[in-house]
């Protein structure tokens, strides 16, 4: 064991990890914390699968002639990259892993409202994933992750039906997770945990769950109708029968625009926690940040038409959708403003999670502002379907959602595993990620502005320099993703013990031991304090002994 004077000795207390052993105790668990770890394993597998497709795409674009794969294979690569990353990594990542683990802890409950449903949703997710995996292995799919009709419903000769079936099944896991969160947050809060004492992480998950519950059924029925067109010759999107292929786009984006907020709202929740904890300040404008989360979820349902500016919808509809898209930027800007105001005159420390939190803000602002370019009708006609769009949504989804996810994983890793990760290496990885990310995607803004269309497997030679930069960035990015995976696994065995509250932070989850006992709290906590109230919490000594040792002295495990 560690000999550092301040690091706690790992005690053999009963916790959710050591309470029982064996594969059955994991596969049949109803403990939300174990289910969160099951999800962590699943989404990590899908992240690397989607990453492999990304690497192949970038390698192919290394040369203007697209020498690596044929055009048909390239179509399949970007489709499968999108399908796997969106439906099987980004959407479940923060809610199903961190949300699952933390929401009951944060509100002082023993578990989610429906623990067995929670486990069922993990099985549904994997079933859907396996079906998609089968579609990939048996030849793949080439429609783009957007499945536009009539190409997907009539012409494509790839595995559309089985892919759709897999997404359909996984959709139910989203719905069940959202339902579980909504009911839990409404009914399972500990005494004294009022709505306005909830951590913002919980608020953003509440807003995300609304989208899960209201949006996912629509994409489910829409994709089911595409499958029914292929299987049973129903003609709802088929112009040959008088059906309407544009109706598909309306229904698809009715879900898939809000789905962006499924990915980014939880990351905003993570960032809010990180910013207050590492600025040691009460969050500026708590109720505004909470309300902005709900506003984003609600207004997000009214802007889908901005994906269809050049698809033939009426000019008046396009103008209204453009206006509403500008409107949804306001609550996002409110959040950025509040984060900045929280940092102002705070005692900011540069722990790894904070680097991710600040990285999130910077990249999200880039992604958000370029989103306003795209919401403007005239500019959109110019850059529609170019790499500008690709760069924009990767800034939101990878720069925003994945940064938030990794920041959250680092921040709560001591709670999840009971161990600390190596701080210096983790900071290095965060910086590598930030550089790699920008090198990968910033050139794509320029490429798109200059007119390089997305989804083409070859391009004119004058675009090569920027494409090579992007590919080089992607390889740096890949290293940045592999590092945390390696040191997280390392820390599970060799990391020093974290203690209950290493940062220290104010949430209820930090009052219970790390890792938490099977039922989270030895007795149900009663909340009598306001959220993020650092000035009035003298019990939170800062810097905490554990972190101080790690940041100033030799790390304990090196002694």
């Amino acid at each position: 064991m560690s000999t550092a004077p301040t690091a706690e000795v790992v005690r053999r207390e009963e916790n959710y990890l050591n309470v029982s052993y064996g594969i059955r105790s994991w596969l049949l668990t109803t403990d939300h914390k174990r289910i969160a770890l099951l999800y962590l394993a699943s989404v990590t597998v899908f992240f690397f699968l989607g990453g492999v497709f990304a690497v192949l795409i970038r390698l192919n674009l290394f040369t203007p002639t697209g020498d690596l794969v044929s055009a048909a294979t390239y179509n399949k690569l970007f489709t499968m990259h999108g399908v796997v990353m969106i439906f099987f990594f980004l959407i479940p990542s923060i809610p199903a892993v961190l949300g699952n683990f933390l929401i009951p802890l944060m509100i002082g409950a023993k578990d989610l409202a429906f623990p067995r449903l929670n486990l069922a949703s993990w099985y549904l997710f994997n079933m859907g994933g396996l079906i998609v995996l089968y579609s990939i292995l048996s030849g793949g799919i080439d429609t783009g992750w957007t499945f536009y009709t009539p190409f997907s419903s009539v012409y494509s000769n790839t595995h559309v039906v089985s892919t759709i079936f897999g997404i359909f099944i996984a959709g139910f896991s989203s719905i069940l997770t959202g339902l579980n969160f909504i009911v839990t947050i409404h009914t399972m809060r500990a005494p004294g945990m009022t709505w306005f004492r909830l951590p913002l992480f919980v608020w953003t998950h509440y807003a995300t769950s609304l989208i899960f519950v209201l949006g996912t059924p629509v994409i489910a029925i829409t994709l089911a109708l595409v499958a029914a067109e292929r299987l049973f010759h129903l003609g709802i999107f088929n112009p040959a029968l008088g059906g309407d292929p544009l109706l598909f786009q309306h229904l698809f984006w009715f879900y898939s625009h809000p789905a962006v907020y499924i990915m980014v709202l939880p990351a905003m929740g993570v960032t809010t926690e990180l910013i207050t904890t590492f600025a040691r300040k009460k969050l500026f404008g708590y109720s505004f940040v909470a309300a902005a989360s709900l506003a984003i979820a609600v207004i997000g349902f009214l802007v889908w038409g901005h994906h269809m500016f050049v698809a033939g919808q009426s000019a008046y509809a396009a103008m209204i959708f453009s206006l509403l898209s500008y409107l949804v930027a306001i609550p996002s800007a409110v959040k950025v403003f509040n984060w900045t105001a929280t940092l102002y005159k705070g005692s900011v420390s540069w722990a790894t999670p904070m680097l991710y939190g600040l990285g999130f803000i910077g990249l999200f602002v880039m992604g958000g502002l370029t989103g306003l370019f795209l919401a403007a009708l005239g500019v959109d006609v110019h850059v529609h379907d170019t790499y500008f769009v690709v760069a924009h949504f990767h800034y939101i989804m990878v720069g925003g959602a994945v940064m938030g996810y990794l920041g959250g994983l680092h921040y709560w890793w001591p709670k999840i595993s009971g161990r600390l990760y190596p701080e210096a290496l983790a900071r290095f990885a965060a910086i590598v990620l930030f550089i790699g990310f920008n090198l990968t995607f910033f050139p794509q803004f320029i490429l798109g502005y200059l007119g390089m269309p997305r989804r083409y497997h070859a391009y004119p030679p004058e675009f090569q320099v920027l494409n090579v930069l992007s590919t080089a960035g992607a390889s740096i990015l890949a290293i940045g993703y592999l590092l945390p995976m390696a040191y997280f696994i390392w820390s599970m065995r060799y990391g020093p013990a974290a203690g209950p509250n290493p940062w220290p932070a104010t949430g209820l989850e930090w009052l219970t031991p790390s890792p938490p006992p099977p039922h989270n709290f030895d007795e149900t906590p009663t909340v009598t304090w306001e959220p993020y109230d650092f000035p009035n919490r003298p019990d939170l000594k800062y810097p905490s002994p554990v972190v101080a040792v790690r940041q100033l002295g030799p790390t304990p495990q090196e002694e």
Partner: protein, 215 residues
């Protein structure tokens, strides 16, 4: 009381909280169902707006008498389901079992009649696909109408099948004496689902069968 306590799952403080959770859970689930069917209702609205004459004409090929009988059957089943919930609330086990049996039976009658209608459509080549045939210039949009007919009533029938299955499970559990005045939330929650599925049909019937009833 001890019997009621064994029905309390470990994550809850008391039966009251458990009740609240179950009923809110079902309401949220029904919201997802509304969005699920909502996509189809929107598709129906768009298609009918594009092809009003074809929809009126195609609608004449549905059997209004059978559809009307089925509507009556479902309304009756909603009544028996409501009576089952009441029987559970006042703790009348035999009445509960009787009404659950009636509800499941009426659900089966509905599905049987629906099956007869489907068979009839197959015989008259009104099922979308290469065998579809429909006289007149509106044949293609008529096929669209039948696409929607099968998608909407098929999805509804699937919900009926699930509903009958749920009611049968509740019946077995009621027979085993699982429910009491203190603990009968599964019956109430299943009742919500059953009424919801009925209401979907109340919308489907006029939209599909009664488009142009006077001609």
């Amino acid at each position: 009381m001890s019997e009621a306590h064994s029905a309390l799952a470990e994550q809850f403080r008391d039966l009251e909280q458990q009740r609240e959770v179950a009923s809110l859970g079902m309401w949220v689930f029904l919201v997802t169902e509304i969005m699920f069917f909502g996509g189809l209702f929107l598709a129906y609205a768009v298609a009918r707006f594009l092809h009003p004459e074809a929809f009126a004409e195609a609608s004449h090929h549905l059997n209004v008498a059978l559809g009307g009988i089925n509507t009556a059957v479902l309304i009756a089943s909603s009544l028996t389901m409501a009576l089952a919930v009441h029987a559970a609330q006042v703790g009348q086990r035999r009445a509960l079992m009787g009404f659950l049996t009636l509800t499941a039976a009426l659900g089966c009658v509905f599905l049987l009649i629906k099956g007869i209608e489907y068979a009839d459509k197959f015989q008259h080549h009104l099922v979308p696909g290469s065998a579809f045939s429909f006289a007149g210039p509106e044949a293609r949009p008529a096929e669209l109408f039948f696409s929607l007919y099968f998608a909407m009533t098929g999805l509804h029938a699937l919900h009926m099948v699930i509903g009958v299955g749920v009611v049968v499970v509740l019946l077995v559990r009621a027979w085993k004496g699982r429910y009491s005045v203190q603990y009968h939330i599964p019956i109430e929650v299943a009742g919500l689902y059953w009424h919801f599925v009925d209401i979907i049909w109340i919308f489907l019937f006029p939209l599909l069968y009664l488009i142009d009833i006077h001609h």
